[in-house]
Amino acid sequence: MSIHQTTIDAHGFSPEEYQRLLEILGREPTITELGIFSVMWSEHCSYKSSRLHLRRFPTDGPRVVQGPGENAGAVDIGDGITAVFKIESHNHPSFIEPYQGAATGVGGIIRDIFTMGARPIALLNSLRFGELDNPATRRLVDGVVAGIAGYGNSIGIPTVGGEIAFEPGYAGNPLVNVFCLGVAKADALAMGVASGAGNPVYYVGAKTGRDGIHGATMASAEFDEHSADKRPAVQVGDPFMEKLLLEACLEVMRTDALVGIQDMGAAGLTCSTSEMGARGDSGIEIDVSLVPQRETGMTPYEIMLSESQERMLLVARRGREAEVEQVFEKWDLHAVRIGEVTGDGLLRIRDQGQVVAEIPNRPLADRAPLYDRPTMRPAYLDDANHLDLATLAPPADPRRIWLDLLDTPAVASKRWVYRQYDHMVRTNTVVLPGLGAGVVRVKGTARALVFSLDGNGRHCFLDPAEGGRLAVAEAARNVACAGAVPIGATNCLNFGNPERPEIMWQFSQAVDGIAEACRALDVPITGGNVSLYNETDGQAIYPTPVLGVVGVLDDVTHVLTRVFPEPDLEIVLLGDPAGGLGGSEYLKQAHGLVRGAPAPVDLDRERALQELLVDAARGRWIRSAHDGSDGGLAVTLAECCVESGAVGAQVDLPESVESVERDDRFGVVQALFGEAPSRVVVSVATGQRERLLSRARERAVPAVVIGRTGGDRIRLAVAGEQVADIGLDEAEQAWGQGLTRHFETVASREA
């Protein structure tokens, strides 16, 4: 029976792609085969628009144990221990069902980590939403945060930090990116391979239902006004099941009865069987009628494409079956043998013995479509990059601007968010959320792992290449501010429709920027995720690469946070004192503009700054370090002062002489609220000023003493002239409540 053209179209094949399918099979596909090809060749699984570009990332380095290609990347942190980490997006599912979408995103990334044989020890998330004055957005935020909390808290992996931003462009397409970090003994990494003909293939975990069928293709399709009625089945997360799977899988891996293991994520059984086979250069054969099912009457097509959560596929060594089965029994899980590895290189699917699909495995993966899509610099840039301060209304009183910025949800304390996350479980969290990068100690060693997620859609909108460089620099800088050496990176590239040349240009530029900065800062990319088609009704989100950088702190007792620890310490500004207003929070907040160009990062100077920070932490020359970002130095300083045991400061900032946008009316505003990379505010340990300044000179990092901690107010001067002054209680009131007040009356669905 021949497959109808409408069926082929509904599976998203282009004519050329379908032709290639026919060549591979040498015949017409069965419906199950068509489904398998369609998910494997979807954007989500095949990276067909992005693969070409991702090759430009640096992925090697002396510390890299596992680069891109496996379930997660891995770097050597010393003491025979490997850090395993990855980031994943769950944007579309979270928009459709915020709680479950976010929850299953967390579940998915955790599986990627323990699949590698690593124990997950920390989670981060990076979130983007529309503005909070819209009640629908507030419900979305409420649901996403509750979903992340619901899953992470229950499974017992601390969520130790992240980032959250609000821009109108994300209103119809929020971004939910989650990052997980685990640790493994260097020699105990597990791989997603199927090899050794005759070895049994096991299915373990939740039963298969009709959830998320075509989820992988859905994640690659633009939203339109009909999406709401398509109502694709939503997966419901079961963190309890995953906790059992996590413990049982780690226990099985401690035996050597296992050949390979992979979770069933996007495209479920299809992806796990064919990828494991392809990696092991083997065939694999399963019978879908043996797959545990939650619903009756499921077809082979449905079983192969289901995205039910909390399932794993594993290949055991023949003769060692009993050991594997016993471990799962202990955890009340039943490992079910559904097939075996074969030597014929075919992915063969049976249903009660009868073959329903038979596909050569290598070509399914290797001959997946690959596109070099056209790129074109978008027309909006010329206008958007042009910022003329003379056309702006005169700035308000600096004190007023300062308080307003502190109270902006993007800048204000994220306490409302992270209070909902168990950030202390497992007793490794050395720095509580809100104080800087995530810091977890590695028990049994003196070390800690330090990690940060950063990205700024506004910057990338105005200059995607610079935005990419800035994101890498900021994430690495946040790691260095804690005293750690950045050693590896992961990334999540959230963009619009790649078939539009302007979007593809943004993508390509951002990749170039990221690649360049990763090389310069010596943080190879070990993996990541691409999420395309982030558009609603033809309106794309800001191009939003999110960078996750992981660093290692050899001695955990050297750790630093952003907070000024006590009065009477000197405050030093490291890095470039000049800030610009292009793309700044001030411009958006006070003038409603996303305009100009973000201040560029000088990567050599950035690297020198980060090395200086690591030296200063090791030498205990400094007591705190905080990276200035959104809202400029005035906001940075306020953030150093508030929070636990608040201490005030008197600071005199240099005038921003070199700023690009010269306008006398804006001199003070630029000094206080101008943004620039490679700037860090530190408090100096008593008696260590000269050492810090001389080391800074050696490394050619600008360093100026700008003030002293103490008192119960934050007083700011520019070039000797007092310009703004707020009480710690006022700062805490504005900054502490800026986000929370939006949520006081929201009734959550999960209530």
Partner: protein, 84 residues
Amino acid sequence: MKTRVFVTLKPSVFDPQGRTIVEALQSMGYGSVRDVRQGKYFELDVAAESADAARSVASEVADKLLANPVIESYRIEVDGDDGS
């Protein structure tokens, strides 16, 4: 008027709580309980002239707030009224 709203997961949606409860009951010796699905139950006190009016308020409220139409469906009962 006392109005009851029952919110249940749609039949195709997986109910991990229900499954865990059945397994617990089975290990406690209640093998005769073959399946459990867990839902939510709301008792609303609605100021309305008639059962119909109360029902219509309750169903608006269920649509907007009490139930999540993507994964849940609901049923309403009004005191002294058996339609459903």
